[in-house]
């Protein structure tokens, strides 16, 4: 069973994400956090590391980029595949995050159908 982690301040996203994962199959353990602080704590204490982390960029307190930097600084978090998951992803965003080994960039889709397809492609 794949373990997925979403870090996004928008709780709607977690709900939609969960629904999309149910739509494409039940083999996923899904956890979400609405702030980086808690997410990083969770990762550092967890026995099993997530297979994928979906990370929003635009968040209050800790930004996505800062969370990514801190994650890569920890031994446990240094190797986890991270997918940037944001409404708009600019060239600058790509440039600023590329040094922290980003697996993929996923712009938040505009339909549920597209969301399901994208997720399926990434985690298969």
């Amino acid at each position: 069973m794949k373990k997925l982690l979403l870090i996004d301040d928008d709780m709607d996203e977690a709900e939609l994400f969960s629904e999309a994962l149910e739509t494409i199959g039940k083999d996923y353990e899904f956890t979400s956090f609405n702030n980086g602080q808690e997410a990083l704590q969770y990762i550092s204490r967890s026995n099993t590391l997530p297979d994928f982390i979906f990370l929003d960029l635009n968040m209050p307190m800790l930004s996505g980029k800062e969370i990514l930097r801190r994650l890569r600084d920890t031994t446990s978090g240094s190797g986890i595949p991270v997918i940037i998951y944001s409404t708009s992803i600019t060239d600058i965003d790509r440039k600023e995050t590329s040094e922290y080994e980003v697996t993929d960039y996923l712009q938040k889709p505009e339909t549920f159908e597209v969301l399901c397809i994208k997720l399926k492609n990434i985690i298969k």
């Binding site: 635009n58 409404t87 708009s88 600019t90 600058i92 938040k108 889709p109 505009e110 339909t111 159908e113």
Partner: protein, 661 residues
């Protein structure tokens, strides 16, 4: 019978003989003539010697022996003595003896004394002595004197002599000629009446001094001439001293009016020149003092090795003193290091030294705390150890500059804020609009098959509006980000940039069967992403606003030119700069020229969304990118006849980019 008849008895008397001998040998001339014919009855030896005869002359008439004497009037003389009884006395009377070839002249002092016999005069006794030598000597002196005087008279100078007391006893003809005075008016101290009153006192003093000290006197004085004008004369007097006795004075007076005129003219010239210099100096002084610019001159002080170690202000006008704000006495006496020990090594001090060495003036601005004024100081070299400092109060200019800078800063800040706001707004709006789209779509999917046609249509309109809003927001975001990274500039080959854009638009180009001709384009310094966006928007624009019933032709050309040759699109200060003019022309629908400026404004569109979809942001981004590259853009068109977009990008934009980046 003769007077001294030796045969007479009287002659025989020893007393008579002694008397005869006495007369005969006396060292004077003694002669005696008697009778109407003046027969010589006695002539002593002294007389015979002169007559050059012996006593055979006795008994002969004097005029028979010396007929020449009759011609010289002696018979008359003797007749007169005899007739009147008055003796005749002669001094230095010349008598000429005719001796054949030679005429001997003798001079005599003598007396003709009538000889009485009873009360009747019967003869004349002559007693006297010869003074020929004395007379001749006297004549020689007289001749010399005359020569001297003639010489004196012929000289073009005054010649004078004075006795030992200083009284003038001779003045030459020149004197009388020039002054028109007579000897009576001139001699003694009469000459003083002809002297210029201003010179007289001085002259008399000098003359008295010379008389008292027997010293040479030399003085320049003026004498009144006949016509009343004055003549400048150099008067000299020399004492004549013999055996330590002052005999007389000799002197001259030389006309020095020519010399004096020259002197006067020279003096006038000097006075005129002095006046001129004084006037100029006064003028310069006046300019210096009244100048509102501070002007000062400093003198550099060197050590033995020739290094500048200090300086001192040696001149400063009031304005300079005011600008500097130091007490004038201190400012003009104390060395610069007294006021600022570090002044020589300061940038100002070093600039001064450089100016002194190179002669290149420098300009510096600084703020004076005490007076709250901004000064502009120009320093230039006067000579190898002096500098001229010129202070100007530029407070007004500086305040305006500062205000302008502040305004510009505010403007930049405001622009940045606006971009920041646009970015933040569009970025934050993206999320809710996406979710609105997302949920509308999900709702529609959930309700699939349960919606009426009318409801389905409404859903479509909802989606369409949401999409349009999303597009606007995205374009606004793009616009706000268009100038980002302007500082990050590299050399860009525009041909390569354009090729990359054409690759992105390949599908569209193929679909519209567009022909795109590209000339050789230059390399410029720019931001790669921005330039990509620029061409993408321009080519995209040309593809979009095309004639539906005509094959699309797009042409991109380039030429290098001066700003002045590019039309009225540049400000004055860029007219001489070099630019690349890049033209993108199409054969599309074009637009009316009056909209040529409007099309570059944000969200300005000339067509409805139904006709041509778009948000009206494309050309705004083009303008923004061009401006962030210090360039200029404008459009020319005629409705239905295609459009030409012209872009001026600076040549060597690498330099200007780094300056303005």
């Amino acid at each position: 019978m003769t007077f001294f008849d030796k045969s007479s008895k009287e002659y025989k008397d020893p007393g008579f003989e002694n008397a005869y001998k006495f007369f005969n040998q006396a060292p004077v001339i003694i002669g005696f003539v008697r009778g109407e014919n003046y027969v010589v009855e006695f002539a002593n030896e002294e007389l015979l010697k002169i007559w050059k005869v012996d006593n055979s002359i006795y008994g002969k008439s004097i005029f028979a022996v010396f007929p020449e004497l009759e011609a010289q009037g002696f018979r008359q003389l003797l007749d007169n003595v005899c007739a009147t009884g008055n003796p005749f006395t002669a001094y230095e009377l010349p008598i000429v003896f005719d001796r054949g070839e030679i005429k001997d002249t003798y001079y005599f002092d003598f007396i003709y004394q009538p000889f009485y016999e009873g009360d009747k005069i019967t003869g004349v006794i002559a007693v006297g002595h010869e003074v020929t030598e004395k007379v001749n000597a006297k004549k020689t002196v007289e001749r010399g004197d005359r020569k001297w005087k003639q010489l004196a008279d012929s000289l073009p100078v005054f010649v004078w002599t004075a006795d030992e007391k200083g009284s003038i006893d001779f003045l030459n003809a020149r004197w009388y000629e020039i002054t028109g005075l007579t000897p009576e008016q001139s001699l003694g101290y009469g000459w003083a009446s002809a002297m210029h009153p201003d010179d007289l006192k001085r002259c008399l003093e000098e003359w008295s001094y010379a008389l008292a000290n027997r010293s040479l006197v030399e003085i320049e004085v003026r004498y009144r001439q006949k016509d009343g004008t004055y003549l400048w004369v150099l008067a000299r007097g020399i004492p004549v001293i013999e055996n330590d006795v002052l005999i007389s004075w000799h002197g001259t007076g030389t006309d020095i009016s020519g010399q004096k005129n020259i002197e006067r003219k020279l003096e006038e010239n000097i006075q005129g020149r002095t006046k001129e210099i004084l006037e100029k100096t006064n003028l310069l002084d006046s300019i210096l003092q009244n100048s509102t610019n501070g002007i000062s001159v400093s003198e550099l002080i060197f050590d033995d090795a020739g290094h500048v170690i200090d300086a001192r202000t040696i001149l400063a006008n009031d304005a300079a003193v005011q600008f500097i704000g130091l007490p004038k006495e201190d400012y003009l006496t104390k060395p610069a290091t007294y006021f600022d020990p570090g002044i020589i090594s300061s940038p100002y001090g070093q600039a001064c030294i450089k100016t002194l060495q190179t002669g290149e003036p420098f300009i510096m601005r600084y703020f004076l705390d005490f007076s709250n004024r901004w000064l502009e100081l120009t320093v230039s070299r006067m000579d190898e150890k002096h500098l001229i400092h010129n202070f100007t109060d530029v407070t007004t200019i500086r305040e305006a500059e500062i205000k302008l800078e502040r305004t510009l800063d505010e403007l930049r800040y405001s622009n940045a804020n606006l971009e920041e706001f646009a970015y933040a707004a569009s970025h934050d709006l993206k999320e809710p609009i996406r979710k609105s789209l997302f949920f509308a779509n999900k709702l529609k999917e959930d309700l699939k098959g349960k919606l009426t046609v009318e409801q389905d249509f409404l859903f479509n309109r909802l989606e369409s509006s949401q999409s349009r809003m999303q597009k606007l927001i995205e374009d606004l975001l793009e616009y706000s980000q268009a100038a980002k990274g302007s500082a990050d500039k590299n050399e860009i080959d525009l041909n390569e940039a354009l090729t990359s854009v054409l690759e992105d638009l390949e599908l569209e180009i193929q679909k519209r069967a567009a022909t795109i001709t590209i000339d050789k384009l230059p390399k410029i310094s720019g931001n790669k992403r921005q330039i990509h966006q620029l061409f993408q928007n321009l080519i995209g624009n040309a593809l979009k606003y095309s004639n539906q019933n005509q094959a699309i032709e797009i042409k991109v050309s380039s030429v290098m030119l001066k700003g002045v040759d590019a039309g009225n699109h540049l400000p004055q200060d860029k007219q001489e700069n070099l630019f690349h003019l890049i033209k993108v022309s199409d054969n599309g629908i074009g637009f009316e020229q009056k909209y040529a400026d409007k099309i570059f404004k944000v969200f300005t569109r000339l067509h409805s969304d139904e006709q041509y979809r778009g948000s009206g942001i494309g050309l705004s981004i083009v303008k923004k990118v061009v401006e962030s590259h210090n360039g200029f853009v404008w459009a020319e068109s005629e409705e239905g006849k295609g459009a030409v977009f012209s872009i001026l990008l600076p040549e060597h934009s690498a330099d200007s980019a780094s300056k303005n980046g």
